[in-house]
Each structure stands twice: as structure tokens, then as C-alpha cells.
């Protein structure tokens, strides 16, 4: 008698590997497809994620433990997936290294962008420590530019404290802030993530709109309380026209000013150095126009911090790096310097020569290794700005003039069109 079709397999070898191979292949292909599409989807918004460390990377810690280094490399693939919630769990060097890469770093304004009055915002920059504020899982953490921890505190930001049912791990926030010591307030200069929703891919225009509408709602701008240790505040953002530039430059603020910040309205939040956000200062709006030493004394000569490359070349932190000179190998060996070290140099008076805006020659003198807390070499624009400050500074009048001339130009264009 033929076996019952349902019961048959009972005492037979039950293994059918072919179907299993097919199924496993399908599962693999499905996963690969999801990964490919997911990758395409998040390509632009993976700014949050940890890039695998490049070989020539500049590290804060001059002597990272080899073990940590290895772990990070090994985790390269997973690390790419790492978001800020997981990053919050990172410790020590890894955490610093990760956070150090997440901030958008404005270049120094060394010439005036076209269409300043059309495409740009301006705000008076608060004096203080530039930092990243991350609220998640019921706590708020702030980290300095080099990644070191500044504060850990409860706040009214979404998921920023353990008080109300808002500690969902999904709902984290990342703010770009300046911590102002005097009034212990975080001045929010940009918004990167809000309630789990990434704003990396959004224009500055949208980010500021969102920032204005969301931050007040949460109570983050209220005075400090038990569950809200530090107040948050918003510097006023102006369109960079005559009135806006004038207001930001002259209006008194609740905070000590340290220069002006310019944001291109159409630019996304881009980590690292960007020319689409700029900083400018003069003695009227900043105490620290010319670099000072640790005692606050203006230095006789301009100092620059450069990174030592494998071939002895000295470069800025820009992408691609700008070369400022070269150390000979003998000197490097003798001084015990290593690739990746950040080195401090002094620039002799009028020591930087330019041809057509390009650096031709730099007359620099080695001083010492840089402070360990430094995460990066100076950017080209910073060196240039400091150089100009000492010799032929870009003045507020120049900025106003550019706005006026642009307005005139616009008018001319309109007139011509009408004439047609």
C-alpha cells in the first residue's frame, strides 16, 4: 500500500538539502537587495556614521592603546552603521574620535562670497565652547569639538531626561551649540537631528525654521530646573542684507559676542570644513581677533598648527590638505616626531607669500608639538585669516560694501531687463 502522503516522512531521513539551499540563497539575495537599497537610501544621510579611520589620521591621543585601535578597525563594517545612540556608548578615544568628526566646521572668511546678501544668513556668534549636544535615552551629553565630554545633564530636549515618558531610544536629538560660561547657557547655532529625525540632508533655511519652531515648544529655553540643568537659547538669525548685517554687528546680545557666523541658506549640514558656513571677526565684535597664548597675551608672531605627514610634509586639516612646508627626516628622527603628529610653528612677519591667491612660500619655524587636546591641524582659511588680521584685515566696511554693490548690480540687471 502506498504511504499516506502526509505521514510518510516520519521514519524517512527528513533532510532535503536542495530546498534548503534554495531557501538560504533566497534569504541571502533578499538581504543583499535590502542592503543595496538601504545603502542607496542612507548614502547621503550616513554623515552620522563612523567612517573607518584612515591611515594618516590625526588623533588626539598621541598614544592610543593598540587594543582599542584594533577593535575599531575590526568593527569597520558595523561601525559604518553606528548612529549617535550607539556612539553615545563609545568610551575614551573612540568616542572622542567619533564626535570630533561630526561637527560642521565653518571656514574663516578670507574673501567675501558672491551673493552674500541673497544666499546667506548672519548671526552674532556667542563666545564660548563649541560643542555637540546629544540627548537620548533620558540623558543629555555635550562634547567639545575634539570629542571630549563637557557635561552630562538632564534637559528638556526630547529624550533628554528621565522624567517623562520621552526616553524612547528612537527619539534622540543632536544640536550644534556654543556653551556660554557666564550664563551657563547653551546657544544653539544649528540643529542636526530632532526627535530621531535627521536634518543632515536639509537646507540651512529649513534647519533654522525647524529649530525656531521646535526648540521653544519643548521647554528647552525655559530657565533651569531639576530636570533641566542648563538653559538653551537661540541667537537671532538675520538675512545678510544691510539691516541684518548691521543688527548682528551692533545690536547688544544677552551673550558676549565672538565674531559673526555666516550660513549659506541652501547648504546642507556637512561635517568637517566647509566654505558654506563662514566665521569672521574684528575687534568690535570679538575679544579674540588675533590668536593669544595661554595667558591671553597676543603673540609676537603668528603661530600655526600643522600635521606631519609620512613624507615629512606639513599640511593643514583641509580636504585635500594644503602643504605649508617640509621637515627633513633627520630632524624628524632626532626630535622623536611621528607621522600624524600635530606640530606648532611660528610664522615670521610677512612669512607667507602668495601668487594668484595660492600659497607660494611659507617661512615657518618649528616650536614644539602641539597641545594633546588638539584634534586637528589648523585649516588653511584660519591661517590665512590670522595672517590677514595681522597685515590687511577684511573689514566690516568691506562686507557692507559688498552688500551695497550687489544691490546696485541687481538694480542694474533689472534696469537692463526693463530696457530690453
Amino acid at each position: 500500500m502506498a504511504p499516506h502522503e502526509l505521514r510518510r516522512p516520519f521514519k524517512r531521513p527528513a533532510i532535503s538539502d536542495q530546498q534548503k539551499r534554495r531557501d538560504l540563497s533566497l534569504i541571502r539575495q533578499e538581504k543583499n537587495r535590502l542592503d543595496a537599497q538601504r545603502h542607496a537610501r542612507f548614502l547621503a544621510s550616513t554623515v552620522l556614521s563612523l567612517q573607518p579611520p584612515a591611515d594618516s589620521e590625526i588623533i588626539t591621543d598621541s598614544n592610543p592603546s593598540p587594543e582599542q585601535e584594533f577593535e575599531l578597525v575590526e568593527e569597520g563594517i558595523e561601525a559604518l552603521e553606528l548612529d549617535v545612540r550607539q556612539a553615545a556608548k563609545l568610551k575614551g578615544t573612540e568616542a572622542r574620535r567619533w564626535f570630533a568628526k561630526q561637527l560642521m566646521l565653518p571656514e574663516w572668511m578670507i574673501d567675501i562670497p558672491d551673493r552674500l546678501c541673497h544666499d546667506w544668513y548672519v548671526l552674532a556668534r556667542p563666545a564660548g565652547k563649541r560643542c555637540f549636544v546629544v540627548s537620548s535615552n533620558g540623558t543629555t551629553v555635550s562634547r567639545l569639538r575634539n570629542g571630549t565630554l563637557l557635561h552630562r545633564f538632564p534637559s528638556s530636549l526630547p529624550s533628554g531626561a528621565r522624567n517623562k515618558g520621552n526616553s524612547s531610544s528612537q527619539s534622540y536629538c543632536i544640536l550644534d551649540c556654543i556653551f556660554h560660561e557666564l550664563d551657563q547657557t547653551y546657544y544653539v547655532t544649528d540643529m542636526v537631528c530632532w526627535a530621531g529625525f535627521s536634518l543632515y540632508e536639509c537646507t540651512a533655511e529649513f534647519r533654522f525654521f525647524w529649530l525656531n519652531s521646535k526648540l521653544v515648544e519643548t521647554g528647552a529655553c525655559d530657565p533651569p530646573s531639576v530636570y533641566h540643568k542648563h538653559r538653551f537659547s537661540l541667537p537671532t538669525v538675520y538675512n545678510c542684507d544691510q539691516a541684518g548685517l548691521h543688527a548682528s554687528y551692533t545690536q547688544p546680545t544677552s551673550y558676549v559676542k565672538d565674531g559673526l557666523l555666516f550660513y549659506n541658506k541652501h547648504a546642507h549640514y556637512q561635517t568637517g570644513n566647509t566654505p558654506l558656513a563662514l566665521v569672521w571677526k574684528d575687534a568690535n565684535c570679538s575679544q579674540y581677533v588675533i590668536d593669544t597664548d595661554s595667558k591671553g597675551q597676543i603673540l609676537d608672531q603668528q603661530q600655526v598648527v600643522l600635521a606631519l605627514q609620512e613624507n615629512g610634509k606639513l599640511t593643514t586639516s583641509d580636504e585635500p590638505p594644503v602643504e605649508f612646508g617640509c621637515l627633513d627626516m633627520e630632524f624628524i628622527q632626532k626630535s622623536g616626531l611621528q607621522t600624524g603628529d600635530l606640530l606648532k610653528f611660528s610664522v615670521s612677519d610677512r612669512g607667507l607669500c602668495f601668487t594668484d591667491g595660492k600659497l607660494e612660500k611659507a617661512d615657518i619655524q618649528f616650536i614644539s608639538k602641539s597641545n594633546r587636546a588638539r584634534a586637528f591641524a589648523d585649516s588653511f582659511s584660519k591661517i590665512m585669516f590670522q595672517h590677514m588680521v595681522r597685515h590687511s584685515p577684511l573689514q566690516i566696511e568691506d562686507l557692507f560694501a559688498s552688500i551695497t554693490s550687489s544691490a546696485v548690480k541687481d538694480k542694474e540687471v533689472t534696469d537692463e531687463e526693463m530696457a530690453d
Binding site: F10, N32, R41
Partner: protein, 876 residues
């Protein structure tokens, strides 16, 4: 219009091949040229008592085959042909068929009853033959009609019920059919032939009798008649009656309580003393009750806390347990002498053991004390039947009872079982090997607290198992299965090292030796050995076993290379070659996939890739018309493993890929080839472009084909997405073909019959794949030509909206839908602003997704939300 076709029909059965082929050709021509006339002629032939029975018989068969086929596509085509025939012709044919039921020639009557049912199968659901049931019932109620007409009428009623669904009849018709059938089953009414036909008809009509079973009086009456029939004098009738009881057990479980005592007496007597066919049905009755109760228990577990809405569990097995188990244990002693030699054997002892296993799953721990005394009493007896039955009983109850209950018994019994692998009787060894494999399958869990295997006994276990792979093929096959599950236990144990690793070289070489046995290929032993090898590789720990598997790779490659050069003389040789190559490609696929999944081992595959690919191409070349599914699967894995490097194989490989994509008949091959296209797209990225015209042409043809199995179609849509993502803007030229197909498929999704679970599943797969296609295309165009998709945005949104409102969509569909929503906003930016304003459903849908328990859905939804906010924030 009918033609005289007797000669053709007779010649078509001629012993002379020439005459036969000629006649078959003429019949076929007639059928193609004039189907109505052809069918009419056949019915005339069947109905004419003066025609020879041979031609009438064939006429009936050809008629049946012109109305119905196994293949569902063909079946539908045939039905459509019939429906389109002129109504007067159809009426004439039906009239002839009904009149043939009264023929004095028995065979003509029976054949006609079957043909009537085939016509009914097409027409009754369309309400095109309303008078049929009445006319058949007339034969039953009219006392003047001859008994032979009543007999064939009952047969016809049974066949008709088999063809149609219970929705197709009104209750009154069902009542009359049941009355006629039950009357036909009653003793003394007519002869045994009628009684048998009536009982078989009842079996087919049971599905229609829901209302009647709900009514106690009617139910009592039907059950009384069935139980009386179960003790009829003729074994065939008894068997048919028990088949009815089996069907009642599953269809009307909730109302059979009052009859259980009677049924127990009936089944128990049948199991003890009736003929095998009847005894088997009696055991099947209890197996079916177990099925019902297991399902109820699983359902209750699943829906716990929701007790009010679940159907009642009558605990029949539990109540009958103390009588049922001894009855089943008795059956275990009724083995056939040669039952293990032949896979197709099904006898009382196997059915009894199977039922015992189901009982164990139904009642759990309670079965243990009822079975263990039997095991202990018989396991040492000199009679092999006792030892085999004891082992079988033990093996049967390993699933169901708790691990805590079983573990001590298995612990103390393991050594005994290992010794029994040297029993003098092969049946005992066979069952022992099976029991060991079940122990490893069900109770071997290295990561749990109770672990059967320790470093000390593993050596002993493997020693016995590896030695026993040399036993007779059917024993060795079950030993392979034991090794398979032993290895599987270490797969997901979370450890980086496994106890098995030191033994791996031995296990692998032993499995290869087993696969090479000259007596292995006939008995499937070779297959078992290679499949076990696959599992051993799959579950091996990387990196600790990497050197061992690296060593295995060239061994398998050499074997595959040798297989290409086999001398092929007979079709058996060919079959043997194909089968062996399939197994070896399978092993290579598993190794490639295993090694490609970690960075440390990837290099090994990259190094060997050239040689492996050459082998696969040779395997393809061995067959002229079709491609090798296993080689194709393995190539997909290879493409994934080597990435962009795969490009250099494309010129050689492409023609086989094309062959695979065109293989409608072996749809699995086609499906696998479609999957490989995806792998290649991801491996080559835009380098796949030169092959895309061909690939897309084949994929589009596949989609339009009615022949191709429908399960291949969703993967083809997903594959569109893969191609588009790989080649980006170059997908533009395919849009005009692909989009209408996708829209058409979306239309089909909307029309799917949601009462059919299988169709619902298919609908979900189809939707997901359409979304995946859109995602791939949107992402592919995003950077260069996003506007190409703007004209389709409304349709996409409507489709997402439709799906978002269907509560029966599965999570994968949701995930794919919310992703497309984001892709749409991401790619089209401000262009979709107005559209989104018109389709406000998206905010509710996003809200649902953001609250989902599925992290991936949540993540995708919040990304999508960002994309939509961004689309709104862009000026313009």
C-alpha cells in the same frame, strides 16, 4: 456535424506504431480544426451501445482530457474552450452523456459518469447546468429506474461533488444529495456495488454537509449509517466508511463527541483484526484527531488570553489515552520483513508509530509512563520484532514531552542505543539510527543547560556513527541524518568554537567515502552523504575550521571535474552524471557562501574563483538544452563572493544565464536564474549594462508568459529593481515596458481573492516585489533623471495608499511600501509636494509605521518622514 470516428479511435490503439501515430494525428487535427464537432463525435461514440467498447472507452478518455488537466493553466484554457462552444452543441453533448449513464454496458456508464462530473466542474460554478443535480436525483427517487442506473448515478454524484465547491449548491440540493447517498448506503436497499458507490459519494459530499452536521437529528442519522457501514461484510465498503470517519474527524471535530465511544470500538477492532487497508484507515482516524488537537493547542497558545473565541478542545486523545496507547504499541510488532528496503512501504506498524508520535505531541509528558514499560519489556527480547518495536516506540515519543522529562531517559538510553548499532538485525539497526537522529534533532542543544553531548561521550558517539556509515545503505543513510542533526546543534549556539571541530576532518572524509560507495547512488545514500556534508560545512565555526574547509574545496572541485569526463552511454549514465553534478555543485555553493560571508575567508574563494567558474561552465556544457539549477545557484553565490571581478566571466556565462531565464518548464531553474541576475547586478553594478538588453528582454517575456509558474513572477519584479539600481539612468529605455507590467501587476493585487490564504500570500509577495522594483528604479534615477518617474508618481502613491489600507498585508510589504514612499519623496523632491498634499493618507500610514514593533519599519519610516519634510522644505 458529428463525424464517424470509430476507426480512428480503434486505430489509435493499434499495436502497429504507424497506424497508431497516423490515427492519433488525425484525431488531433480534427480536435484542432473543429473542437465542437470533435467533442460531439466523441460523445456520440461513447453513447452508442452498438459501437465496440474499445472505441467507446477511448472516446470517453479523450473527452475527459479535453475538459480537464492537472496543470492549472491548461485546465483553465480547456474550460474556456468548452465555455465558448455553441450552446446547442453543448446541450446535445450533455444529453448524450446523461443518456449514457443508463447504458447496459458497465464501462460506458462509468466513463460517462466521470465525463459528466468534468462538465459539471466547469458549468455548475457558472450556473450553466442548473438541471443536472435534479436530473441525477430523479434517477434515484424514481422506483422504476434500474439498479445499475442508481449505482452509476451515485458515482456521478460523488464525482460531481469532488469537482465543485460547496458554494456552488443550494442547501436544498445538498439535502437531496445526502438523502439519496445515505439511502444508498443503507443495508439491504440495493446490492454491495451501490452501497460502495454511495459510501464513496458520501466521502466527497461531506464538505457540503455543514448545515446537516449542525443539526443533531440529521447528524445522528448520518453517523449511524456511517458506523453501520464500517462493519459491512465487504472490506472495500468498510474501508470507504473509515475513510468517511477520517474526513469527519477533521471536518466536524467539534460535534463528534457523542460518537467517540462507538468509533473507538470500531477502530480498535479494525486495528486488531481487520484487513490492512481498513486497519490503516482506523489508525488514520486517530492521527487526524491528533492533528486537530495539536492545531487547537497551537492556536490556543498563540491566542492565549483570548479563550472565548477559540473553538473547543475536546481532549479526545487525553481521554482515550490509556486504551489508545496500548492499541498503537501492539501495531508496532506487525512489521514487514523488508519494510526498510523500500521507501514506498506503508504498513500498520509504520502508521501506528506515526500515530504514536502524534499522540506524544498532543499529550506531552503523559505518554511517557504509558510507553516506557513497553520499551523496557521488549528492548532485550531475542525476537527482533520486539527489539525493533521497542526502539521505534522510544523514538516516536521524543517530540512532545518536555526536555526535563526526556533528558534523563535519553541520557541513560544513549549508550544502549549506540551499542544497538551493532545489533544482528538490520531493522533494529535502521530504527536505532533513526532514533539517534531524532535525539540529535530534537534534544541536542549545546547552548542549553541540559546538554546531551559532552567532550567525553562525543568521541564515542562519533566513533559509532562514523563506523555505521559502512552499514547497508538504508542504515547508513539514517546515520548520515544523525550526523546532520548532530552538526546542526552547533550552528546557532553562539560559541566561536565547537566540540565537533577536532573531529571534522574525520567526519568529512567519512562522508566523502560514503558518498563514493558504489551501492550508494541507487539508495539515495550518496545524496544523504553530500547533504550531510553541506550541513556540516554550514554549521562549522569560522575561522577555526577554515583550514579544514579550505582543504575540502579542491577535493570537491576535482570530483566535479571528473564528472564532466564521465563516459555517457545510456540514459542512466546521463542521469547519474547530472545527479552527481547537482550534489557537488551544492557542496561548492555551500562552501562559497560560507567563505564569502567573512573577510578572513573571502580570499580563498577569490583565489579559486577562476577554476571554480571553469568547472561550472563545463557542467553547463554537459547538457545541451537545459541548464543545471544547482550550478546556477552556486554561480549566484560566487558572484556575491567575488563582486566586480565576476565581470570577466560574463561573456562565457551569459548564454547559460539566458537559457536559464527561458526555462519555463523547469520553473525552479528560471527562478534561480532570476535570483542570479540580482546577484550579478549587485556584483557588477553598472558594468552589467552590456547584458541588460538581453536580460530585460527575457525578464519581460517571462512576465508575459502564461506557461511560467506564477511563483517566479514576483522575483522578476524585484529583479527590475536590482537592474535599475545597478545601471541607474540607463534603465530609462526599459521604463516604457516595465512600468505597464508593474501597473498591471498592481491591478492584479487589488483583485486577489482574499479568502484564499495561498493567494493572499502570493498577493503579498507580488506587492512587495512591485515596491522593490519602484524603489530600485527611483533610486537609480535619483541623481540623474528623477523626473522620468514624475508621470508615475500618482499611480505609485495610489498603490501605496491601497496597500496601506489593507490590514492583511504582511510586515515585509509594509516595509517595502514605506520605503518607496520615502524614495518617491527623495527622488522627486518638490515635484511631489502637491501630490502628497492630495494624498494625505501618508501621514497616518507613517504614524502606524513609526509605532511598529519592527525596528526596520520604524527606521525606514523615520527616514521617509525626513524625506517628505525635505520635499516640503525645498523651494518651488
Amino acid at each position: 456535424m458529428a463525424m464517424e470516428i470509430t476507426q480512428f479511435l480503434l486505430h489509435a490503439q493499434s499495436a502497429d506504431a504507424n497506424i497508431r501515430t497516423d490515427a492519433e494525428g488525425k484525431l488531433k487535427l480534427f480536435q484542432e480544426q473543429n473542437l465542437p464537432s470533435f467533442l460531439l463525435s466523441l460523445s456520440l461514440e461513447l453513447s452508442s451501445d452498438e459501437k465496440p467498447i474499445e472505441s467507446r472507452r477511448l472516446a470517453g478518455i479523450v473527452l475527459k482530457n479535453s475538459l480537464d488537466a492537472k496543470d492549472s493553466t491548461r485546465k483553465e484554457n480547456l474550460a474556456n474552450h468548452w465555455v465558448s462552444i455553441d450552446i446547442s452543441v453543448k446541450s446535445k453533448i450533455k444529453e448524450l452523456l446523461l443518456s449514457t449513464l443508463g447504458s447496459s454496458v458497465l464501462e460506458a456508464r462509468h466513463t460517462s459518469a466521470q465525463v459528466v462530473a468534468k462538465v459539471a466542474g466547469i458549468e455548475i460554478p457558472r450556473k450553466e447546468w442548473p438541471e443536472l443535480i435534479g436530473s441525477l436525483l430523479g434517477n434515484m427517487t424514481d422506483p422504476s429506474k434500474p439498479v445499475h442506473l442508481k449505482w452509476v448515478t451515485l458515482e456521478a454524484l460523488g464525482y460531481v461533488c469532488e469537482e465543485i465547491s460547496h458554494h456552488d449548491l443550494v442547501q436544498e440540493e445538498v439535502n437531496s444529495i445526502l438523502t439519496a447517498v445515505v439511502q444508498g448506503m443503507s443495508v439491504g436497499e440495493y446490492g454491495p456495488e451501490v452501497r460502495l458507490a454511495a459510501t464513496k459519494a458520501l466521502y466527497n459530499a461531506l464538505d457540503f454537509a455543514q448545515t446537516n452536521f449542525d443539526n443533531e437529528m440529521e447528524r445522528n442519522f448520518i453517523m449511524k449509517v456511517v458506523c453501520e457501514t464500517a462493519v459491512a461484510k465487504e472490506p472495500e465498503i468498510r474501508q470507504a466508511a473509515f475513510e468517511c470517519l477520517v474526513s469527519i474527524a477533521s471536518t466536524y471535530y467539534e460535534v463528534i463527541e457523542p460518537y467517540m465511544e462507538t468509533i473507538f470500538q470500531l477502530t480498535s477492532a479494525a486495528v486488531k483484526g481487520d484487513e490492512e487497508a481498513v486497519a490503516l484507515q482506523s489508525i488514520e482516524f486517530w492521527s487526524s484527531i491528533c492533528d486537530e488537537e495539536i492545531e487547537l493547542q497551537e492556536y490556543n497558545d498563540f491566542e492565549s488570553g483570548n479563550a472565548g473565541s477559540t473553538p473547543p478542545h475536546s481532549c479526545f486523545i487525553d481521554k482515550a489515552l490509556t486504551l489508545l496507547v496500548p492499541m498503537l504499541l501492539e501495531t508496532l510488532l506487525k512489521q514487514d520483513e523488508d519494510q526498510d528496503q523500500d521507501d514506498t512501504v506503508w504498513n500498520v506498524s509504520m502508521a501506528g508509530g506515526t500515530c504514536l508520535g502524534l499522540v506524544a505531541r498532543t499529550v506531552g509528558d503523559r505518554i511517557v509512563p504509558l510507553v516506557m514499560p513497553f520499551v523496557e519489556a521488549n528492548i532485550l527480547k531475542p525476537d527482533w520484532r520486539s527489539r525493533e518495536a521497542a526502539t521505534y516506540a522510544f523514538g516516536s515519543i521524543l517530540e512532545g514531552p518536555s526536555v526535563e522529562k526526556l533528558a534523563p531517559m535519553v541520557h541513560s538510553g544513549l549508550e544502549f542505543l549506540l551499542n544497538a548499532m551493532k545489533d544482528e538485525n538490520i531493522h533494529v539497526k535502521d530504527t536505532t539510527a533513526w532514533t539517534l537522529s531524532r535525539i540529535f534533532e530534537l534534544l541536542h542543544n549545546p547552548s542549553s543547560e541540559i546538554s546531551l553531548i559532552s567532550p567525553t561521550n562525543l568521541q564515542r558517539i562519533l566513533g559509532v556513527l562514523l563506523e555505521s556509515t559502512k552499514d547497508v545503505p538504508h542504515v547508513a543513510g539514517k546515520v548520515c541524518s544523525a550526523i546532520y542533526y548532530l552538526a546542526q546543534g552547533y550552528e546557532d549556539d553562539g560559541a566561536s568554537s565547537s566540540l565537533l571541530t577536532p573531529f571534522l576532518p574525520n567526519i568529512i572524509s567519512c562522508l566523502i567515502t560514503t558518498a563514493d560507495r558504489p551501492d550508494g547512488s541507487d539508495s539515495k545514500l550518496r545524496t544523504s552523504a553530500y547533504e550531510t556534508l553541506n550541513e556540516v560545512v554550514r554549521c562549522a565555526k569560522i575561522p577555526e575550521t577554515a583550514p579544514i574547509i579550505t582543504h575540502l574545496l579542491p577535493v570537491i572541485m576535482t570530483k566535479l571535474g571528473q564528472s564532466v569526463d564521465f563516459q555517457i552511454i545510456s540514459s542512466d549514465d546521463r542521469e547519474n552524471q547530472v545527479e552527481l553534478q547537482a550534489l557537488l555543485c551544492g557542496v561548492l555553493q555551500v562552501i562559497i557562501q560560507k567563505f564569502s560571508s567573512t573577510e578572513e575567508t573571502k580570499g580563498t574563494i577569490l583565489q579559486a574563483a577562476d577554476q571554480i567558474m571553469v568547472l561550472f561552465l563545463k557542467v553547463f556544457a554537459c547538457r545541451s538544452s537545459t541548464v543545471h539549477e544547482e550550478a546556477m545557484l552556486a554561480i549566484g553565490a560566487l558572484a556575491y563572493g567575488v563582486g566586480p571581478e565576476f565581470g570577466k566571466y560574463m561573456t562565457e556565462f551569459y548564454k547559460y544565464l539566458e537559457m536559464g531565464l527561458q526555462n519555463f518548464e523547469e520553473y525552479q531553474v528560471c527562478a534561480v536564474s532570476v535570483g542570479v541576475v540580482g546577484d550579478i547586478c549587485r556584483a557588477l553594478d553598472d558594468k552589467v549594462l552590456p547584458y541588460c538588453d538581453g536580460i530585460m528582454t527575457h525578464l519581460l517575456k517571462d512576465l508575459s508568459s502564461n506557461e511560467l509558474h506564477r511563483s517566479v513572477k514576483p522575483p522578476i519584479f524585484s529583479c527590475f529593481g536590482d537592474v535599475a539600481l545597478a545601471i541607474g539612468e540607463h534603465f530609462e529605455k526599459y521604463l516604457v515596458y516595465a512600468i505597464p507590467m508593474m501597473q498591471g501587476a498592481a491591478q492584479i493585487c487589488a483583485q486577489i481573492d482574499d479568502s484564499d490564504d495561498e493567494m493572499m500570500d502570493y498577493g503579498n509577495q507580488l506587492r512587495r516585489s512591485i515596491f522593490e522594483a519602484y524603489s530600485g528604479i527611483l533610486q537609480g534615477f535619483k541623481n540623474s533623471k528623477p523626473d522620468l518617474m514624475a508621470p508615475h508618481a500618482t499611480h505609485i502613491l495610489q498603490f501605496i495608499e491601497h496597500v496601506s489600507k489593507d490590514s492583511r498585508r504582511d510586515e515585509n510589504v509594509t516595509k517595502a511600501a514605506v520605503a518607496v514612499l520615502g524614495d518617491l519623496a527623495d527622488a522627486l523632491r518638490s515635484n511631489v509636494k502637491i501630490l502628497f498634499k492630495d494624498h494625505t493618507f501618508y501621514s497616518e500610514f507613517l504614524g502606524q509605521c513609526l509605532e511598529s514593533d519592527d525596528e526596520q519599519i520604524k527606521e525606514t519610516a523615520s527616514w521617509t518622514q525626513g524625506m517628505i519634510v525635505q520635499a516640503f522644505s525645498v523651494c518651488g
